[in-house]
């Protein structure tokens, strides 16, 4: 795959308690810097979110601030925050061949 050179400042958050939604995530992570993106996917079949979320900052500074804090506690639960690794694209690339 061609390498995309555009820099993103994303963290990947997991172990999010079910009571928290995007609004609360934005509020919490907003304290570290300006947020450009907040993606907390919900499963429309069940109505619950999947427990993980991507937060994109507009600057590297926001990202670093968020990464430096430990532990992150939201509504009494400890959540996991890590730098968003390059996506797992291509891992399943060969799965859908043939017979489609």
């Amino acid at each position: 795959m061609a390498a995309s050179s555009k820099k993103v400042f994303e963290v990947f958050v997991s172990k999010i308690p079910w009571t928290v939604a995007s609004k609360e995530m934005k509020e919490y992570f907003g304290q570290f810097g300006q947020i450009k993106k907040c993606l907390l996917p919900f499963d429309k079949e069940t109505g619950f979110h999947r427990g993980f979320c991507w937060i994109g900052y507009s600057t590297d500074e926001g990202l670093q601030n968020a990464l430096q804090k430990d532990p992150h506690i939201i509504e009494g639960s400890r959540i996991q925050v890590q730098r968003n690794r390059k996506a797992f694209l291509g891992r399943k690339a060969t799965k859908e061949e043939d017979d489609s």
Binding site: M1, A2, P17, W18, T19, A21, K23, E24, P41, F42, K44, E45, T46, G47, F48, H49, P71, I73, E75, G76, S77, R78, A87, L89, G90, K92, A93, T94, K95, E96, E97, D98, D99, S100
Partner: protein
């Protein structure tokens, strides 16, 4: 001695088993068995204890194998897959599922059980052990289900599977009885027996035992006595279990005195009351609330040899609670010792209590849970009791109670957010009222309430299109002052309404919100981001292991059951036979093989010299050269002798000529000496050597030295060696020859010279490969067998000190053997300990310990135990001691060891001992091992019984085998299929009736003849019952003989025989699988005429759809799909795929959309790729001539499809278009692929197209594509997978070669070559393979073992001898090895 041993046992046990808290238990005599899994909710079934381990066995390895990262083929034609394969796979899968559940939690959930039940039904033909597995799970393994429901489920399963053709034997009836007992189901034992009789299933000991228990459960002593009398009359043994039932029986009849009296009756009968006996008594007291007696009894137990486990006490707790004496519960709970497996057991106790309305007691128990995680550094509270809250919600406990429990958990710092969690459970389980009450309370507490809390509730109503339900939730939101936001409306509310207006009218909300919601919905449609959760593909586990061992058995048997081979084939067979045996087998069966060879000889069987050489090489490699002389007698004497003699003469003459002519003779001299040595003609070779001494070259010396060594002539060998050294002091022999020298020298006591040889090896850097290391072992062992400790020690130390080889347990063992041989056990121990200090090896420790136990050398034994315990851990020590006791038949001591608290099963070690027993025919030891490990934590019971049956088979003891089967029922073990097959084979080969349905091995394709023969015989029987027909039909269908089945069925119909739905369905499937649509429909008509409600099974329906599509009857197929869905049936993935493809080729875009909608409504269980629909829609557009639409939808997918889209394959589209030679469409698609590649950096379509060109052999176009879009060459992963796939079928090698030409560096050479070799192997192309091997060697590469193995097989199949040694292990072994290596490499590359 007994006393001493007991003392030792105690010290061993009380030993530093320190990390385990289990020892902090008062009283030294408590060696109760640790239990795995669940609390036996044998609620009230006092005398019955269930073992969860019945299900908890490690599953057969589910690994699939092949080379490197091979791709799993997409589904094959359903019809071609043997049904039996599926059955076996499915059992394995179901088993793995249930097993992992029981292992983790000690229970099974209803959902899981039902899913497995449904799946088993869907495939048809449920096997006997599948049925057993399901039935067994309907008792106390379901603590979350009310008792009556469990029994109901058991009955449902029983009836349904019977209808589907499962046949039941005693094990099923016994399992059903167990379920009745566990569920306290009231039934009439006499009726039950009558039912069994009606079904012609004979009751056995276990049946009677359980019927007695059933009577006793009701307090019906009279009934119990009746059966007891019956058992006595049948001479069946009255076991402890029966007495235990009687204890409960008398208690339930209100006669505690008699209940207590049973214990002395038992003692009188020579049976010690066991833990279960005391438990029966304790439960009886508990039901009366007699806590004083309970305490007294517990003290009594403390003073006996037995001990009670936590789970026993849990049963007492349960009985107390159930009888309403909850106030006494704490007194029992505090006696628990929190043994291993306490938590899952206690959880199941809580669940059962909740299910049966004793949730307050459950909370009491919950609060005593040891907290699992230590609070983390920042003082987080672990969430304890989730399961408790969830089950309370599921059981509809009132909100006030839940709120109260939540407070208690929170205050006790056991849970951080119990209310939130309870709410989670409530909304998940669609309990709107409870959720509302909880949220009202939360709001009052000041906790936030958010819109998304209501979403899960809405999803339930949305699915059911339940508009009043939706409105109710919205009203609830209003009450709690939570405003529904846009997402709430758009995702969860509006979609439930048929249209916008209806929604707006019903909701009366602001127009703006609805519009916003609409826009939102449209957006999500446009962006095509339909998430499809990927499901893990079901493991395609095949019973490879048993397959291989099956063949082995076949082979080793055919040796002795003498062959009727035509003589010319014997030779090759002989070679293959020996080749297929392992070294150990050949060694073990040396004498038998010798007899066999002699037999062959007496039959005037000859083998060619080439084959002889092959066999000789194997025997050499297996270290049984003694057999070579037996084989050589089989060689056609004229051929060998005459040719050999002739050769000598020719060479000698030539030698003389050369010498006469004054020409160099070295080369011919070497040839002659080699030839003579090959025929073992030492004398003559030495003569020749003497004549031509000055012309001797190194090679000639080497073979001579070797021959001298072999002929035990140390003097001559050393003479030659010295002569050689004089000629050239730098020259080195190869390792085998050095070792031959070492052997002969040490044998003749010339130890120093032997040591010198070793030193010389080191000086001259002689490399020792694996086979030489084995030779070294034999050198050492030969000395050891003479008890020559000093020699062995010296040789061993020298080799290790010189660093010639790495020390291994095997190489260290001869030293120990030398000590043992001379009866010096403490010396052996010292030596072993020394080995451990120096080389970290502990050789032959089992034999040492056995010797010490046998001899009663207590002090040394203690020393050995201390040492092992310190060096290898307590567990290892205990196992060592255990096996030593087993080996020396000290079973009582062995049992004590295995009952050590905290001990768990080590399958590898148990297997080791079992194999030993089987090999040495030690039935008693093996039986005892199986017996004493019954309660061993995590012990795979089926595996243990399988060992026993194997030995029964070896010793041809069908009576024992039958007893093993009964024992398995008593222990509630569900046999795997291989175990049942083994048992059936034993019974059959002794001419016994097999009392159960034998699962057929899918791989026994070589046997249909006999089955057909049987069928023919059967058809001669004049009076045919429906059962007869059914049996024959099923058999024919299983054999894929649909036509025959059809004829038979018509025959039955003519005679007016009416069958059940299953056989009709089976015949229909069989016919459809063969494409006979009309016949299949005719069968359906017959079925409908007899069975009004007859409908096709899921599988038959799917096959029908496939057949219809194949015949181009797409409309019919579509109609049938709809019928299926209406009947709540689930079509197979393949049926949908074929249908969609059919629609695509008809250009029916609409139809595809419709199917997609239907499938989506079905849920996500089909594991269908979305690309199936998309690709075929594209093809439909193309078919309709609308290529632009096609291109447009593909472009949309790639450019807007989100993260996963650019990995979606459109190869199928390209393939179809290429196949149909639709160049106009291809041009546009090709342009699109280029555009996507060049403008959007999306290379997948271009790569797909490139590969489809290759696939179609249009190399020029592929090349052109590559030129315009060079990035294709970088899509290595895709290209690689193309190669992997190509290499799975014969005749594909050119594709790989072409690929290599076009994209030279798409793969490293090593991988490429190994795939090429794989292709040649498939194509049986030895010539190309040879060429490839040469090339590999020329390029200086080291081919891996798999490569060589493939090549060697090619050679062998062509009847040629490979110029290298064939790697001895299986393909699988090397493939795994290679995979491990690749994995390790990628892992390190990732770091």
């Amino acid at each position: 001695f007994g006393l001493n041993m007991a003392a030792l046992l105690r010290s061993a046990r009380v030993l530093r088993f320190s990390p385990s808290p289990l020892l902090y238990v008062p009283g030294a005599a408590k060696y109760g068995p640790p239990r795995s899994g669940l609390y036996c909710g044998a609620v009230g079934a006092r005398a019955i204890r269930v073992s969860a381990r019945v299900l908890a066995w490690p599953c057969a390895s589910l690994r699939q194998y092949g080379v490197a990262p091979q791709q799993q083929g997409v589904s094959k034609d359903e019809a071609s897959i043997g049904l039996r394969t599926k059955q076996a796979q499915q059992f394995d899968w179901a088993l793995a599922k249930l097993d992992s559940s029981v292992r983790r939690t000690g229970r099974v959930t209803k959902t899981l059980l039902l899913r497995i039940f449904h799946d088993i039904c869907r495939t048809g033909y449920p096997s006997g052990n599948q049925a057993l597995l399901l039935l067994r799970s309907c008792g106390s393994l379901l603590p979350e289900m009310p008792l009556a429901e469990r029994t109901e489920l058991a009955h449902r399963i029983w009836d349904k599977l019977q209808e589907l053709g499962a046949s039941y034997d005693a094990s099923h009836y016994n399992a059903l009885l167990k379920v009745y007992l566990q569920n306290e189901h009231k039934f009439s034992p006499t009726d039950f027996l009558a039912k069994m009789e009606e079904a012609s299933v004979p009751a056995n000991r276990v049946t009677y035992q359980r019927l007695i228990a059933a009577y006793c459960q009701e307090g019906d002593i009279e009934g119990a006595s009746k059966i007891l009398g019956f058992m006595k009359s049948k001479d069946l043994p009255i076991t402890e279990a029966v007495f235990n039932s009687l204890v409960s029986g008398h208690a339930h009849a209100g006669d505690m005195g008699s209940a207590e009296g049973i214990l002395s009756v038992m003692k009188g009968a020579g049976i010690e009351p066991g833990p279960d006996t005391y438990l029966a008594l304790l439960s009886a007291y508990a039901e009366k609330g007699d806590i004083a007696k309970i305490k007294l009894t517990l003290e009594t137990v403390d003073n006996t040899d037995t001990s009670l486990m936590d789970r026993d006490l849990m049963q007492v707790v349960f009985s107390l609670a159930k009888a309403g004496y909850e106030q006494h519960v704490p007194e029992v709970v505090e006696r628990m010792r929190h043994e291993r497996g306490y938590v899952p057991d206690a959880m199941n106790l809580c669940l059962s209590l909740i299910t049966q309305g004793r949730e307050d007691t459950a909370l009491t128990v919950l609060k005593t849970f040891p907290s699992l995680q230590v609070e983390s550094e920042n003082g987080e509270v672990p969430d304890l009791g989730n399961f408790f809250l969830r089950h309370c919600v599921n059981m509809e406990k009132p909100a006030e109670k839940l709120i109260k429990y939540s407070r208690e958990l929170k205050d006790a710092k056991l849970h951080s957010g119990p209310l939130q969690f309870t709410l989670y459970c409530a909304v998940e389980a669609n309990k709107t009222r409870l959720a509302m009450e909880l949220m009202t309370d939360m709001k009052a507490e000041g906790l936030p309430i958010r819109p998304h809390f209501f979403w899960p509730l809405l999803t339930h109503h949305q699915r059911d299109k339940n508009i009043p339900g939706i409105l109710e939730v919205l009203r609830g939101m209003q009450q709690l002052e939570v405003m529904p936001d846009v997402e709430t409306y758009s995702n969860y509310v509006v979609p439930a309404f048929p249209n916008m207006d209806a929604a707006r009218a019903a909701l009366q909300v602001k127009r703006g919100l609805i519009v916003a919601a609409l826009i939102y919905i449209n957006m999500s449609f446009c962006s095509l981001t339909v998430s499809s959760p990927t499901f893990p593909a079901t493991d395609l586990s095949v019973f490879r292991g048993s397959l291989i061992s099956g063949f082995k058995r076949l082979i080793s048997k055919s040796v002795w059951s003498f062959s009727l081979f035509p003589a010319e084939n014997v030779a090759y067979f002989l070679y293959n036979l020996i080749d297929s045996m392992t070294e150990g087998e050949v060694q073990a069966k040396e004498e038998k093989l010798r007899q066999y060879f002699a037999q062959l000889k007496s039959l005037n069987v000859f083998i060619p010299v080439t084959i002889y050489r092959g066999i000789r090489n194997i025997l050499d490699a297996y270290h049984v050269p003694e057999l070579i002389k037996d084989v050589i007698t089989l060689v056609d004497s004229k051929e060998s002798i005459s040719t050999a003699e002739g050769r000598f003469v020719v060479l000698e003459t030539r030698l003389a000529e050369l010498r006469a002519e004054g020409k160099p003779v070295s080369a011919v001299l070497k040839q002659l000496i080699q030839a003579l040595c090959a025929e073992e003609k030492l004398e003559r070779a030495l003569e020749i050597k003497a004549q031509f001494e000055q012309d001797m070259v190194v090679g000639a010396y080497a073979v001579l030295i070797n021959l001298c060594s072999r002929h035990d002539n140390a003097d001559e060998a050393m003479n030659l060696k010295r002569e050689l050294a004089r000629k050239d002091s730098h020259v080195a022999l190869d390792a085998t020859k050095y070792l031959a020298l070492v052997r002969v020298l040490s044998k003749h006591g010339r130890l120093e010279e032997a040591i010198d040889m070793l030193k010389e090896m080191k000086e001259k850097d002689v490399v020792l490969n694996d086979s030489v290391v084995t030779q070294l072992f034999h050198v050492l062992n030969a000395a050891a067998m003479k008890g020559d400790v000093a020699t062995v020690q010296r040789l061993q130390d020298t080799t290790f000190a010189l660093g010639l080889v790495k020390p291994t347990a095997n190489l260290c063992s001869p030293l120990i053997s030398a000590h043992l041989e001379s009866g010096n056990y403490s010396g052996a121990l010292e030596a072993a300990m020394e080995c451990h200090q120096q080389y970290n090896q502990l050789p032959r420790i089992h034999d040492i310990i056995c010797g010490l136990v046998e001899k009663g050398e207590m002090e040394t034994l203690q020393k050995a135990m201390d040492f092992i315990s310190q060096e290898r851990g307590e567990m290892t020590m205990l196992y060592d001691l255990f096996f030593a006791f087993m080996q020396t038949r000290r079973y009582k001591e062995a049992r004590k060891i295995i009952e050590t608290p905290g001990l768990r099963a080590r399958p590898g070690r148990l297997q080791w001992f079992a194999e030993k027993c089987i090999a040495n025919n030690q039935m008693e030891a093996l039986e005892n091992m199986v017996d004493v490990t019954e309660k061993l934590f995590e012990c795979d019971r089926d595996e243990m019984y399988h060992y026993l049956l194997r030995l029964c088979q070896e010793s041809n003891d069908w009576r024992k085998a039958e007893a093993v089967w009964t024992k398995m029922q008593e222990e509630n073990v569900i046999p795997r299929e291989k175990t049942l097959r083994l048992l059936a084979n034993i019974l059959k080969s002794s001419g016994q009736v097999v009392p159960f349905d034998v699962p057929e091995a899918w791989y026994e394709e070589d046997k249909p003849k006999s089955a057909e023969f049987l069928l023919k015989e059967k058809s001669l029987v004049p009076n045919e019952t429906p059962t007869d027909y059914q049996l024959r039909l099923v058999t024919l269908c299983k054999r894929g003989k649909g036509k025959e089945a059809f004829n038979l069925l018509k025959d039955a119909d003519k005679k007016g025989v009416v069958l059940g739905p299953a056989p009709y369905d089976g015949v229909i499937r069989s016919l459809l699988a063969a494409g006979s649509l009309e016949d299949a429909m005719a069968v359906r008509e017959i079925a409908i005429s007899h069975i009004p409600g007859f409908k096709l099974s899921d599988m038959a329906s799917s096959l029908l759809i496939i057949t219809q599509v194949k015949r181009n009857e797409v409309k019919d197929a579509m109609a049938h799909l709809k019928t299926m869905l209406q009947l709540d049936q689930v079509p197979s993935q393949l049926a949908i795929t074929r249908l969609v493809q059919g629609l695509g080729s008809h250009g029916d875009v609409h139809g595809i959309e419709e199917v997609e909608g239907l499938v989506k409504a079905l849920g996500t269980s089909l594991n269908l790729s979305r690309m199936v629909f998309l690709n075929n829609t594209v093809l439909a557009h193309i078919k309709n001539g609308d290529v632009d639409r096609a291109v447009e939808s593909l472009e949309t997918l790639y450019t807007q499809g989100g993260d996963t889209a650019h990995t979606s394959s459109v190869a199928f589209v390209f393939r179809k278009v290429i196949e149909e030679n639709n160049d106009a469409a291809l041009d546009k698609l090709s342009a699109m692929a280029e555009r996507l590649a060049n403008h959007f950096a999306l290379y997948r379509p271009a790569t797909d197209l490139f590969m489809q060109y290759l696939e179609a052999g249009r190399v020029e176009e592929a090349k052109f594509m590559l030129q315009r879009c060079a990035a294709i060459a970088e899509q290595r992963e895709i290209l690689l997978s193309y190669m992997t796939k190509a290499a799975q079928e014969p005749g594909q090698v050119n594709k790989i070669k072409t690929m290599k030409e076009l994209v030279p560096d798409f793969v490293d050479k090593e991988t490429l070559y190994s795939y090429l070799m794989k292709c040649y192997g498939l194509d049986k192309d030895l010539a190309s393979a040879k060429a490839l091997h040469d090339q590999v060697q020329q390029e200086g590469m080291q081919p891996d073992e798999l490569f060589l193995k493939r090549l060697a097989v090619l050679y062998r199949d062509a009847g040629e001898a490979a110029p290298f040694q064939e790697p001895p292990e299986s393909f699988k072994f090397y493939a795994e090895k290679l995979r491990e290596k690749t994995k390790a490499q990628t892992a390190s590359a990732d770091d």
